[in-house]
């Protein structure tokens, strides 16, 4: 029986991008549905009644919510191709730790970059420190997953598609501060699973300008 996979998503969402990358890594065919977050559809509300948020993966009619949980689910169900989490429990724990750090700390600091007026210098500095910590974790490995693209890489790459936007908005560049991360991001973009899952930079920047207006920030 063929698997029926539907992804309820919103194209600029970093969380949605993670799931797209994971599905592409596993070579899975799925139906992509872009949600209107101002007018959420009945399927989204039915499939994620608790949070009413995207992304939601619907696999053979059953919903899975929360991007990190979805990525792990994809990795466990389609375990024979391109494993994302390492097999060793200790390295799995490390991967989960860093994915959590990215989602909680980096995400929060990224939001502060453009939402808080008057704290830009401090926000930029903290964001870069956070990235430097991640760069330290990467070390000299080609990917966070080691020789192969893995769970932490999937979790971090979407932030890099937004980084272009943040660099313009907050007027800073990470090129000098985190050269290894820039190299890593370029290496990841060479993978088809990544480049086809991330939105066009200019389109994202235009969306960001709309988002700022909506939030009443100039």
């Amino acid at each position: 029986m063929a698997d029926e996979i539907i992804l309820l998503d919103f194209w600029p969402s970093m969380f949605g991008m993670k799931v797209r990358i994971a599905l592409a890594e596993k070579g899975l065919k799925y139906e992509y549905r872009d949600e209107d977050l101002f007018n959420k559809g009945p399927l989204l509300l039915e499939m994620n009644p608790i949070h009413k948020k995207i992304p939601v993966l619907i696999h053979n009619g059953k919903p899975i919510c929360e991007s990190q949980i979805i990525v792990q689910y994809i990795d466990e169900v389609w375990k024979d191709k391109s494993p994302l989490l390492p097999s060793d429990p200790y390295h799995r724990a490390q991967a989960r730790f860093w994915a959590d750090y990215i989602d909680k700390k980096l995400h929060l600091l990224g939001q502060r970059l453009w939402r808080t007026k008057g704290e830009e210098q401090e926000a930029n500095k903290e964001y870069i420190e956070c990235l430097k910590l991640l760069e330290g974790e990467l070390g000299d490995k080609p990917y966070f997953g080691g020789e192969n693209f893995g769970f932490v890489d999937v979790n971090l790459m979407p932030y890099f598609s937004w980084l272009y936007v943040f660099e313009i908005a907050a007027n800073f560049s990470i090129e000098a501060e985190c050269p290894k991360l820039i190299t890593w991001a370029k290496r990841c973009m060479e993978k088809e699973s990544v480049s086809t899952s991330l939105p066009d930079r200019q389109k994202l920047y235009d969306f960001f300008l709309q988002l700022k207006k909506w939030h009443g920030i100039e």
């Binding site: 792990q72 689910y73 200790y90």
Partner: protein
């Protein structure tokens, strides 16, 4: 396995450290418990968790694992013989992880918010929110337990641990605010579950004493209130 192979850096009032104690007990693992003084953190803690400098940290064969739910999953995977903490089916695992994330990201901040709420109205709103969260979890309990004693079925598992570790702190919030949060007629499933959880063999010897925790909470919250009062002058 030698006791010193497994060390837990914890603190007796911490619900997050309690999760790890329970997981280790489920697997019958011998371990050394190192009690941290959170006002004077040890070198070992600072070295083992340089990013967050927080407990709990599990140190296994000298390698640190941080973040309570990552530690619980590690324990389940590293000691893979039964009993299991997470279900074996990937969909059931995703559901368990979802509820643990709800507890950590939504419900626990609400519980924490009760202590921080200033004024009677804010307190009431904070307490109502905790109760609403428990109503959601009551429904989740119904679906996950399928009529059995625990979220995981016959034995305690991931979601039981994720939520159960907060039961003493729920008691503290109830006593300090003179209210009921785990209301039996609104949440019969959870009320029964709470009693069974606290009596479980893996839990009862490591759950902090109710009155000791209440005394501890009173002490730190009063000290914090004094600090806030003096800094507002």
């Amino acid at each position: 396995m030698a006791t010193s192979d497994v060390k837990l850096l914890g603190a007796w009032p911490s619900p997050f450290a309690l999760r790890v104690h329970i997981a280790l007990n489920i697997k019958s693992i011998d371990y050394e418990c190192l009690e941290e003084n959170l006002l004077a953190k040890s070198q070992l803690l600072l070295q083992s968790n340089p990013v967050h400098k927080k407990i709990p940290v599990l140190i296994h064969h000298d390698k640190p694992i941080c973040e309570s739910l990552a530690i619980v999953q590690y324990i389940d995977e590293a000691w893979s013989s039964a009993p299991s903490i997470l279900p074996s089916d990937p969909y059931d695992r995703a559901v368990a992880r979802f509820w643990a994330a709800y507890i950590d990201d939504k419900w626990f901040p609400w519980l924490n918010g009760v202590a921080n709420a200033q004024g009677a109205e804010a307190k009431k709103a904070a307490l109502d929110q905790v109760r609403e969260g428990l109503v959601v979890l009551e429904e989740a309990f119904g679906k996950c337990s399928k009529g059995k004693d625990f979220f995981s079925g016959d034995r305690i598992g991931y979601v039981d641990i994720a939520l159960g570790c907060f039961l003493r702190w729920v008691y503290v919030a109830e006593k300090r605010n003179d209210v009921k949060l785990l209301v039996e007629d609104k949440m019969p499933g959870l009320a029964a579950w709470a009693n069974k959880f606290c009596e479980d063999g893996a839990v009862k010897d490591v759950m902090p004493d109710k009155d000791e925790l209440l005394e501890f909470a009173n002490m730190i919250l009063e000290a914090r209130a004094k600090l806030n009062a003096s800094s507002n002058n």
